[in-house]
Structure formats: structure tokens, C-alpha cells
Subunit: 222 residues, 2 copies
Amino acid sequence: MNEPERPAPSPTAQAENAASENAGTTDRRLLRGSRTRRAVARHAVDVASLDGLNGLSIGRLATDLGLSKSGVATLFGSKEKLQLAAVGAAREAFVDAVVRPAADAPHGADRLRALLDRWLVYASAPLFTGGCFWAANRPDFDSRPGPVHDALFSHHREWLTLLADELRHAVGAGEVPALDAELTAFQIDAVLTATNTALRVGDPDAAHRARLVVEGLLSPRG
Amino acid sequence: MNEPERPAPSPTAQAENAASENAGTTDRRLLRGSRTRRAVARHAVDVASLDGLNGLSIGRLATDLGLSKSGVATLFGSKEKLQLAAVGAAREAFVDAVVRPAADAPHGADRLRALLDRWLVYASAPLFTGGCFWAANRPDFDSRPGPVHDALFSHHREWLTLLADELRHAVGAGEVPALDAELTAFQIDAVLTATNTALRVGDPDAAHRARLVVEGLLSPRG
């Protein structure tokens, strides 16, 4: 589209434009900073999925991405803030890859199967260099209280709650037999975490076994 | 007991005695070396249960135990050999704490319940500072081929085989319904690994939930 012709600006309008241009420059800088921040955080997720959040360093990420160490340091401030940014970026990527696409399926057993399908693609493809980000990092932080621990385990509870809610839907709709939703969500998650390890070590039956277990949990017993 | 009186030694016997005393000194040195090696390896297990096998360093262990760094370096030679010694020491301590005591119970469902009881004590007490050694270290080494990976995953297979064998005994004796022993062993192990994390973060229901899941797997369905 062509821009409509505009009248010559008044002195007041000129001052306003200048202010708006300054604001524009600041916005662009913020945007650039924010884009770089996202790119660094996303790369940090890959590194941490392989070497753990403790393996992250501002210097290493800067080198990997061809950025200045001081620039990356300015964006994040501290190793802990970098770790928290990685946890946030991992959650965002996980929601995009697993939770959001599965939301096309109706609540209950169908949604659970869609979540399982998406999760298996997420871990098998894999989305992050070292496989499941939480499976890689929860064990390192389970005995280390602090904000990174809290973020990792808050996402874990969120995921368990999502599974339990869908299990309750499935029970309510009579799609699966009566079951303890929290206990079954815990079992599904435990099996997915073990499946992540099995996928990493190249076990060819890993995905099939995960499906068998989840179908066993969802099927009427007997 | 008093030693019997001995005749004065002949020159040949004197030479033999000297040789035997030298051998004794060497034996004592070897023994001291072997004891120190075990003490360092056992401490390495505690450190690695908390900070991972990658967090191990000869210098740190020497400082922790008040030994010289060069002495510890001589005993182990390399970081990888130290990691392998830790994996070996962890296996030995696990067998002593979980597998051997459970062997008092008859094969089958009783042995499985005894293994579960012992495992829960092992992880809850816990035997190692940071809880289950394998749960802490498998995720770090699942994408890192090499001797440490091989040792960790060989012990894992050994444990899964033990569980599957007892499940087959239980099925054979009619104590549990027909089931896929390998699949069920995988599920039990997945739940124990998740239980280890739950114990680390202070979840008060962790042990109870593990029992519920294992009893569910062993009980006739319906």
C-alpha cells in the first residue's frame, strides 16, 4: 500500500516526530536486544539439554553465537538469570511443540493420546539437542533450592496438572475406567522421562514401549 | 595365642625372611593404597550423587579428604578412571544396601516387595548424599558415549534384568497375573527414578505413591 500524502508538519508536530523517532530508535534497540536475548536463550536450551544448566556460561554462548561476551552479559546480567531465561525458553518451545498442537484434539483420552504423540516427536526428533530439557535438568536441581529449581519444578507441576486434568476428563466421559488421576499422571510422566533416556541411548523400542504403557493405563483393566 | 618358639634362622632363611618382609611392606602399601582408593571412590559417589560425575575432580576429592592431590592422581590416573571407580563403588554400595538384603525373601512377589522396601530406604535415608546415584547420572551421560556411559547403563540393564526375572518368577508361581515382565520392570524402574526426584524435592507422598504403583502392577487387575 502507498502511504497517503501528508501535509508539512507544524513545529509542534516536528518536535513530536523527533521524539517519536527517538522512541523508534529505542524501540528498535529494545527489539534487537529482545531478539538477541531470545536467540541466546534458545541456544542455551540446546546446550543445557545436553550438558545441563550448570554447563551454561555467558562466555561459551557468546562464542557459539559469534556475539561479544560483554553484550551477552549485559542482556542477562548473571549466570542464574541466563539459566532462568533458558528454562523460560524451553517451556515456550515445549508448549509450542507439544501442548498447543495437541489442543486441537477434544479433551480427555483423545487429548492425552495427542499429547503422547507430540511428546514422542518432541523427544525423538528431538526438539532440543540433548532431548527432553526437564529430564536432563531436574535431577541436577532436585537438591539445589533456588529460583532455577523453582522454575523447573513449577513447569513440572504444570505438566502433571495438565495430564491429570485430561485424565479426569477421560474418566468423566467414561472413556477410561475409574482411576486416580494424579497417580496415573505421575506414572505417565515417569514413563516419558524414562523413555527420554531410552531414546538417548538409541533403544529402538523406546517409543513403542511408551505407547504400550500409556495405552495400558488408559484401557479398561482385565 | 603365643607364637611357637622358632630356631635361629639359617642364612638362607634370613634371606627368605627379608624377601618376605619386603613383600609384606609392599602388601601393606598396596592395602593402604587400596583402602584409600576405596575411601576416595566412596566419597566420589556422594559428590556425584549431588553434583554429577562431571562435577568430580581429583583436586576437590583430595581437599575434601585431606589427601595430597598427587597421591589421589597416582591412585586413579585420570578423571575418567575416577568416574569409573565411583560408578563401581556406587554399584557395590547399592548391591549391599538393596539387592543383598532383599535376597533373604523368596523369589517372586515377596522378593520384589523386599527390593522395593530396600530401594525406598536407599533413596529416602539416603545412602548417597544426593539420593539415587543412577537417577542423578544417567541423564548426564545418556548422550555421551564412552566407558562411563557403558558402566552406568550396564548397571541399569542389570537392575532391569533382576526386576524382570523376579516378575517372571512371580508370574510362574501364579502370584501375579500374566504380564510382560520387561515392560513391567521398565515401569517399576521409571516410577522409582521419578520417586527419587520426588523424595529430593521433599514430596511427603513420594514413598507411598511408589508403593501404590508397584502394588497396582503386581495386583490382579479388575
